[in-house]
């Protein structure tokens, strides 16, 4: 972590030279030479080509989910990452946008506004709600604001569940506003400029275009007086105010913009799903959006998008054991690549891990022949692994569970070690992780998914608390 009063440019000179040395140096140099613009266009091009490379509706549906998440994370990034306001009511704006779109484009009230009109109405209404719910931020900061806004999120779900029988004095029968627990089904598909958006594929492209526009807009906004005003009020509201920044106005603007993006995303979600239900907007979703933002790096646009990709796509990849296995070993290798430097040491660790595995495998085969008779199931990777990690003939739950506990202990022990001792413990720990994975976790995919995902998050937060693409920050001593 950075320290106040240390000149980073000088103190990081060594890291910098190391960064541009070793095996991956040419790739790193090439990547750094390309500016953010070309990188962004390359990313867009890959995303635009994606639907042509696959016929699977499921994969495109995952892509749509990723982009919905990315838009939500980008909106949240304005409020949390830039303006520094801990807004836990964010998901209410998403839900409000979805319900708002349902009211003006479905058979529920028999209103079918054209999409060109419906979307601006939803965005404007969400922004107004953002202004209103942002008002507490004038007097409350930090935890207090968080708890107040969390209350708004809860209220939204409660209202959605219970506003199906609203008694109005001028009506005889109660008004069904939200459809209660059954939600509002039968929402219109969108239709823009005469193009009817029916397919998931159409929404994929719509979302991609919106994402591109919003990313560019936010990129410019970040490096403008408004963006600087937000960050200044996050760093020190009083100092910002005394440096001519209208802090309260900027807080409201952040809330309104975040809400507008969330509302827009909600309307598209409603159209994709052709229905809205209260359980779509619960606090678990909020946690996932926060996870995406924090994982990617709060305050960073590319971080928000990357975080969304990870949070929305990883659980899908983990559905099949074969993919989960690839992801597990790739994550392991990647973590080693990042954590172990310089590359000579990395080579030692990699060699030691492979050697250690082969030796252990031989030892087990000699001492306890039944211990290596199990076979890892399926896939190209499995064949390679069979002679490295040992698997008992029939799965032994107790052995697996004990190994699991040992693994947790070893990882914790690892964090307290430095230097060569760390390397010495690291090698068996990796092997132990592979053993636990193959013996215990592969058999229970649903548990594995959650465990692996949690492990990724925990590992991330300890090694890079600023997130994958975030910048490290110091705590303000005031």
């Amino acid at each position: 972590m950075p320290r106040i009063g240390t000149d980073e440019w000088v103190s990081e000179q060594e890291l910098r030279t190391e960064y541009y040395s070793g095996l991956t140096a040419p790739a790193r140099r090439a990547f750094d030479r390309v500016g953010p613009g070309p990188r962004f266009f390359a990313f867009l091009a890959i995303c635009a080509l994606f639907p042509f490379l696959t016929d699977s509706a499921f994969l495109i549906r995952v892509g749509v989910n990723v982009m919905l998440f990315a838009l939500l994370a980008l909106g949240l990034n304005i409020v949390v990452g830039w303006a520094g306001l801990l807004d836990l009511g964010y998901v209410a704006f998403y839900g409000f946008g979805a319900y708002m779109y349902a009211w003006i484009s479905s058979a529920h009230f028999d209103v079918h506004l054209p999409t060109e009109l419906a979307i601006p109405i939803v965005v404007a209404a969400s922004a107004c709600l953002g202004l209103l719910l942002g008002l507490p931020s004038w007097r409350l900061v930090g935890d207090y604001l968080a708890i107040t806004t969390l209350f708004f999120a809860q209220i939204f779900v409660e209202l959605a569940l219970n506003l199906d029988r609203v008694n109005l004095p001028w009506r005889d029968e109660p008004l069904d506003l939200t459809g209660g627990p059954n939600g509002i089904p039968g929402i219109d598909r969108m239709s823009l400029l005469g193009i009817q958006l029916d397919d998931v594929r159409d929404y994929y492209f719509l979302l991609l275009m919106l994402l591109a526009l919003i990313v560019v807009g936010l990129f410019y906004l970040n490096d403008s007086r408004t963006g600087r005003g937000w960050r200044a009020s996050r760093e020190d509201p009083l100092a910002a105010e005394l440096m001519t920044t209208p802090v309260n106005r900027l807080k409201l603007l952040a809330f309104a913009m975040g809400a507008a993006i969330a509302g827009l995303t909600g309307s598209i979600f409603a159209a994709v799903q052709t229905g809205v239900f209260p359980q779509n907007f619960e606090v678990t979703l909020l946690i996932m959006i926060y996870a995406a933002l924090i994982l990617g790096g709060a305050g960073s646009i590319s971080g928000a998008v990357l975080g969304a990709i990870i949070v929305a796509a990883v659980p899908e990849i983990l559905r099949t054991p074969e993919n989960a296995r690839w992801l597990f070993y790739c994550a392991l290798v990647l973590a080693l690549l990042v954590a172990v430097r310089p590359w000579t040491r990395l080579a030692v660790v990699a060699g030691a891990v492979v050697g250690f595995g082969l030796v252990v495998h031989q030892l087990v085969a000699w001492l306890w022949p039944a211990g290596v008779e199990g076979e890892t199931s399926g896939g190209t990777l499995a064949g390679v692994l069979d002679s490295w990690v040992f698997l008992p003939a029939e799965s032994q739950d107790t052995v697996g569970n004990v190994a699991f506990v040992l693994l947790v202990a070893a990882v914790l022990w690892l964090t307290t070690l430095r230097g060569n001792a760390r390397i010495a413990v690291l090698v068996p720990t990796i092997y132990l992780a592979a053993f636990v994975w193959e013996n215990r976790l592969v058999e229970q995919p649903s548990v594995t998914r959650q465990l692996l995902f949690g492990a990724i998050l925990v590992a991330m937060m300890t090694t890079r608390p600023q997130g994958l693409l975030g910048t490290p920050r110091v705590e303000n001593p005031i």
Binding site: I4, E8, M243
Partner: protein, 265 residues
């Protein structure tokens, strides 16, 4: 006829609960003047700054800036009118770059709306270039200390003395007419203190700012002040040239206690 003072306080009082921290203070700072405020701890010096910048609202009296009553205005409005300050305890935007710290202070005199910035219209681009030039110019005022590669460093990576300098640079980024400096030499070594003394002089000569400064270091006060105002318990106990104030029995009493004066007499 004397010109109208740039900043004028008339009978300003402020109390927190039953504790009067400022009672009927009259003070004026003329255009182009450097006025020092001295006084023992708790004399109300920083409270004075907080009242002028709008953090506190006085219980009574008037605060006039350029002939206009600024009581009740929001702090950012007062800052936009041309009063900038630094803080005794540094309050930089630590996680922003050195240059961004100064650019952030330009919020008040720039106009681009958020949609213009998001679309990067021509007006927004031009303004952005102006702000950039302004920031570089304000940082160049401190020679090499804040220039060069340091401009793009996060503010937290600066040394203590450079952070103090950046506070001043940031304050000048608001394009002020009156600079309020709260102990600019606090925690600095003798060489740096000497440098600050020179710097405050240059701020007036080159920058054209009127300066009101709180300072404990009497060498600095002696070196820079046109006029010195001594406060104690929220009251003005002496005012005039440095020599006059430094030898005033009430000032000596405030700093050293009543006994010292009686023994001296």
């Amino acid at each position: 006829m004397t010109p109208e003072p740039l900043l004028e306080l008339r009978g300003v009082s402020k109390s927190f609960g039953g504790l009067a921290v400022m009672s009927r203070l009259d003070l004026h700072v003329d255009e182009g003047e450097i006025v020092s405020v001295i006084g023992p701890n708790g004399a109300g010096k920083t409270t004075l700054f907080n009242l002028v910048t709008g953090i506190y609202e006085p219980d009574g009296g008037e605060i006039l800036f350029d002939g206009r009553n600024i009581i009740g205005l929001e702090p950012h409005r007062i800052a936009q009118l041309g009063i900038a300050r630094t803080f005794q305890t540094l309050r930089l935007f630590l996680n922003m770059t050195v240059k961004e710290n100064v650019k952030a202070a330009a919020y008040g005199h720039t106009k681009a709306r958020w949609w213009q910035s998001a679309l990067r219209t021509r007006a927004a681009r031009r303004e952005e270039r102006e702000v950039d030039a302004l920031a570089e110019e304000r940082l160049a005022f401190f020679g090499k200390r804040l220039a060069g590669y340091r401009m793009d460093q996060p503010a937290y990576s600066l040394s203590y003395a450079n952070r103090r300098r950046l506070e001043i640079a940031r304050a000048t980024g608001t394009v002020p007419r009156l600079l309020l400096l709260d102990e600019p030499a606090a925690g600095m070594n003798p060489v740096e203190t000497h440098e600050i003394t020179e710097l405050i002089g240059r701020l007036r000569e080159v920058g054209g700012y009127t300066i009101l400064v709180i300072e404990h270091d009497m060498h600095v006060v002696e070196g820079i002040s046109d006029r010195v105002v001594a406060l104690d318990h929220g009251e003005k106990i002496a005012e005039g040239s440095f020599d006059h104030v430094a030898t005033d029995p009430r000032v000596v009493e405030a700093y050293l206690g009543a006994q010292a004066t009686s023994e001296g007499a």
